[in-house]
């Protein structure tokens, strides 16, 4: 992705217009990540807004050690994981019940059925809903964003070995669930 250093620098200095250009430029990818992770359009929208507010507040501290995109994603991932942690803490029992009940996953997500029209897509949705947020996140970052293990480790604040094992677990679980559902 093209990163306009000037725009980032202007936004760092407090230019609202420059910041708005960043929102316009990165919205689609950020929303894609959050939609696939949160499994709820409204929640994804809320998380994206929170992410941008944090980015605006912390932009002056962005030193450019990593690319802006990686930094932005790490803010989004932390925002989403913090949210899931809070929700889990509030309703641990309900959440576990949802995860343990087969077929309930689809209720977490309300996709546009005109678009989601194949059986495989539906099974894929349900399987994704049943994965934990961390596994879902790592899968999306690798398979859909095409990020390297190093970048994912940086974004998720973990080691590359952890990324490798989470990716394997995510793939294996998805594979098992897809196989079971389709059979």
């Amino acid at each position: 992705m093209h990163e306009d250093a000037d725009i980032i620098e202007q936004a760092r200095k407090g230019s609202e217009d420059a910041f708005e250009r960043l929102v316009l430029e990165y919205h689609d990818r950020l929303m894609g990540l959050l939609m696939r992770t949160a499994r709820d359009p409204l929640l994804a929208q809320e998380l994206e807004q929170q992410t941008w507010i944090k980015v605006w507040k912390n932009l002056p501290r962005f030193k450019g050690d990593s690319s802006f995109f990686t930094w932005l994603y790490s803010v989004a991932v932390r925002t989403a994981l913090d949210y899931f942690r809070r929700v889990k803490r509030l309703s641990e029992v309900e959440y576990m019940d949802q995860l343990d009940t087969p077929g309930n996953g689809a209720e977490l997500y309300r996709p546009d059925r005109d678009v989601m029209n194949t059986e495989l897509q539906q099974q894929c949705e349900q399987a994704m809903n049943r994965l934990s947020e961390k596994l879902r996140m790592v899968l999306v970052l690798r398979e859909l964003e095409g990020l390297s293990y190093k970048e994912i480790a940086r974004i998720m604040k973990c080691r590359e070995g952890t990324v490798m094992s989470r990716l394997y677990n995510a793939r294996k679980k998805m594979q098992q669930m897809l196989k079971r559902d389709l059979s």
Partner: protein, 155 residues
């Protein structure tokens, strides 16, 4: 080298060392079962890419919402400092201890004389010398004074 599924998963991501990449590639090429396992792992990504994620909001709308939210936050008065629960519990415990430290000794000192201060005349055994003792129970003072002509002469 034993090719586990985890290594296979890293191999399809091209995230192994150059040497390991070569070893696994050769093994996969030579073993159809291994190739099938690798394909099965790859199929997860392919299935994911078919999933639609239509954004519920346009980029322009998001930008406007974010701008509004930031302005609202900046206009809002600074929030009072909120201590975490553990700090609040600690402060409450300290306050209780301080209160107890003040109240308990005063409650236990029930044998204290009702009189707050008194002056007594004591016989010193010296002729012409008057001795007075002033006791202040509240302040904890005891003042003794001697007065007399003989005493002054002796000093």
């Amino acid at each position: 080298m034993k090719i586990t599924e985890q290594i296979l998963s890293a191999w399809i991501d091209e995230s192994l060392s150059l040497q390991d990449m070569k070893t696994v590639s050769a093994a996969v090429e030579a073993d159809p079962a291994l190739q099938a396992r690798a394909d099965a792992l790859r199929s997860v990504g392919a299935a994911l890419r078919q999933e639609s994620t239509e954004s519920p909001v346009t980029a322009e709308r998001m930008a406007a919402d974010v701008r509004r939210a930031i302005r609202l936050q900046e206009q809002a008065p600074a929030q009072a400092v909120r201590f975490p629960v553990w700090a609040r519990a600690g402060l409450a415990a300290c306050a209780c201890l301080a209160l107890a430290a003040v109240l308990i000794p005063s409650m236990m000192s029930g044998d204290r004389p009702v009189v707050q201060a008194q002056i007594e005349s004591v016989n010193s055994g010296l002729s012409g010398v008057s001795t007075m003792v002033y006791t202040d129970y509240d302040a904890g003072w005891t003042v003794v004074w001697l007065d007399g002509a003989e005493l002054e002469a002796g000093l």
